[in-house]
Amino acid sequence: MPEVTVTINHDVGLHARPASMFVQTAAKYSSDIEVTHGETTANAKSILGILALGAHKDAEITIKAEGEDADEALKALEQLVLDNFGENE
């Protein structure tokens, strides 16, 4: 299963608007996508799961995807995090 590891740079972490954007992006793909932060893993399409990860600024998260569009999904999510959720400082 392909995976990428990225660091959350956004000040609020993977919460609030960044969390919503992350979930909405994941939902565009049919693949099963999961996100791991520390010992906790959540469904990337679940806002409640993502919030409960408690991924703050500078947290490292690993995203794994499985399915037809797994590679595209990973690429899109990685890009979203790298672009600081569209808020480049």
Binding site: D11, S20, V23, A52, H56
Partner: protein
């Protein structure tokens, strides 16, 4: 007449009948179903309806309070479509053959409780959102779409356990005189909304307010954080007078807002504001503040999940300092610990947090926390009148250590090629008795003092100001506290340094004549208090204030002092 105290969340006085915002508890029955497919269809329809409502509420909120506040309703939509949530609801409906209302309620509640269990203020607030959106969907399932907000037909004071974003968006704001809630703090949704609307509010008043009945006469004192139920005629008259006076003086002060506070015999003092965020700047300027005597930097650290970067701090400090041009803005470095906790800063539990590693002690022990703030301040202070102030200094050694770190930061920044403030005034808070006693030596190593009467009183009287049983003793009106203040002012003046006061006392009309008479140079207070303070100072003479202060120092109790001032300086009763 009965009074309840809570947390003052938004200024002013509201008088009017109570409107109890009773979100009729939705009664959820649990029963077995035979046709899960039909049950699921009901859910799909209710969800669709909920989405449409949320879109509407979103637009209405954007109009009323802006996109940022409205964003919460988008998040609520995502919550209701959460695949994990839907999956567990589906299991309950299809496998356990539970009716959809019960399945939805139980699932949402278990998620809410999980979020609440995490020790994080932000996530706890999201628990309220799940409950908000699931009860909206439940009301759609049950066909009970009426909101309690519909009952608000006359100007009233809103009484509620707590208010969700969905609740407040439906309230007709023309009829809202004030808010009081049993739960919530000064950053709760209700508090923020009230300040945005400029309506008085008291929050976190406890379960006692749940006994308030619809239509009962209420007074909300948003300055003192007090709720008065069925005030007797005398009290009501007094509140009405204060309310009237508040608006009258406010109106009068607007005409003279940029004029200085000079006594009848020509003694001028500086009247500045305490502010806690960028939004406070305009309120301070409008109120006639001649600068900022206390910029609490905690705002940058709260309601987030990690430390603010140096860059972010620099931007915010610069915005504020530039807004005041050459008027002074005094930035107080991070004051946490004691009763103020920040979840992502690891602070060990202490038996006596008020006597432990708080404020400057915490900062000195954590350079990674302290240095970015100092660097940001030094950069932001270039080209304006930003000054730095350190909280909870107990000894001369504290100042020397702090100045070393500051110089280190300045050298680093210069090497890195940044523009920095070459001469930035450095001051300290006088809030520990040892600092007050050593004021002569301390005034040799700093440029100014600012007296923090809230802490100085509680440390001097050994009385916890958050403990209602001893809070009276912790009053800043104790002669012991005034004597310490006199010593601090005299010691500083002997060394050619100036003294300000940024505790609540600076804005208390009863205290102003004494502080003025003791020679205080700068009074820093919450913006709404400024017009009143200026008017009072213009109405009295420095000579009289000096005599009054001298007498007050020799009285025996806080009560004696208060009574004496009321009689001796009747202007305090006029505002």
């Amino acid at each position: 007449m009965k009074s309840i105290s809570g947390i003052p969340a938004s200024y002013g006085i509201a008088i009017g009948p109570a409107f109890v915002f009773d979100r009729a508890e939705i009664v959820i029955e649990t029963y077995s179903i035979k046709d899960p497919a039909a049950e699921w269809k009901r859910f799909e329809e209710a969800r669709k309806k909920t989405h449409l409502q949320l879109d509407e509420v979103y637009l209405k909120t954007v109009e009323e309070s802006g996109e940022e506040t409205a964003e919460i309703f988008n998040a609520q939509k995502l919550m209701l479509e959460d695949p994990e949530l839907i999956k567990s609801i589906k299991t309950r409906v299809e496998k356990d053959l539970t009716n959809i209302e019960s399945a939805l309620y139980e699932t949402a509640e278990s998620y809410a409780q999980q979020l609440e269990a995490i020790d994080d203020e932000y996530l706890s607030a999201r628990a309220l959102d799940i409950r908000d959106v699931s009860s909206r969907c439940l009301r759609n399932l049950l066909g009970t779409t009426d909101s309690p907000a519909d009952g608000l037909k006359t100007p009233s004071v809103i009484v509620a356990k707590d208010l969700t974003p969905s609740d407040t968006v439906l309230l007709n704001k023309d009829f809202v005189l004030g808010f009081c809630t049993a739960e919530g703090g000064s950053t709760s949704h209700t508090a923020i909304l009230a300040r945005g609307l400029g309506i008085p509010a008291v929050v976190g008043a406890g379960t006692e307010i749940e006994d308030i009945q619809n239509g009962e006469d209420l007074v909300i004192d948003g300055d003192a954080g007090e709720i008065v139920i069925n005030p007797d005629p005398d009290a009501l008259k007094e509140f009405r007078n204060r309310q009237e006076k508040f608006y009258k003086i406010k109106a009068e002060a607007e005409d003279v807002t940029h004029q200085p506070a000079v006594t009848t015999d020509g003694h001028q003092v500086e009247i500045v504001a305490n502010i806690g965020n960028v939004e406070g700047v305009q309120a301070a300027l409008d109120a006639g503040a001649e600068g900022v005597g206390l910029l609490r930097s905690e705002f940058l650290y709260l309601e987030r999940s990690s430390l603010p970067s140096e860059e972010e701090q620099y931007q915010k400090y610069k915005t504020i300092a530039d807004a005041f041009g050459d008027k002074p803005v005094i930035l107080r470095t991070l004051d946490v610990g004691g009763d103020k906790d920040i979840p992502y800063i690891d602070m060990p539990r202490e038996a006596n947090p008020f006597l432990g590693v708080r404020a400057i002690r915490l900062c000195l022990s954590r350079p990674e926390l302290f240095k970015p703030q100092l660097r940001a301040a030094l950069r932001a202070g270039h080209g304006n009148n930003l000054k730095l102030m350190f909280p909870m200094v107990a000894t001369v050694d504290d100042v020397i250590k702090t100045k070393e770190v500051l110089e280190e930061c300045r050298d680093e920044l210069k090497k890195e090629g940044y523009d920095v403030a070459e001469e930035m005034d450095i001051g300290i808070m006088i809030e520990i008795p040892s600092a007050a006693i050593m004021a002569d030596q301390l005034s040799e190593v700093v440029d100014f003092f600012s007296i923090g009467t809230n802490d100085l009183s509680q440390y001097t009287l050994a009385a916890d100001r958050t403990n209602a049983q001893v809070a009276q003793s912790a009053s800043g009106f104790q002669p012991a506290v005034f004597r310490l203040i006199k010593g601090v002012i005299d010691a500083a003046h002997a060394n050619g340094k100036w003294v300000g006061l940024c505790g609540e006392m600076a804005g208390e009309l009863l205290a102003i004549p004494i502080l003025l008479g003791l020679g205080l140079d700068e009074f820093s207070m919450n913006p709404p208090a400024i017009p009143f303070a200026k008017q009072l100072i213009r109405a009295i003479s420095f000579e009289h204030a000096q005599q009054v202060a001298q007498t007050a120092l020799n009285l025996k109790s806080d009560t004696e002092i208060r009574e004496y001032i009321q009689i001796e300086v009747p202007e305090v009763n006029l505002g």
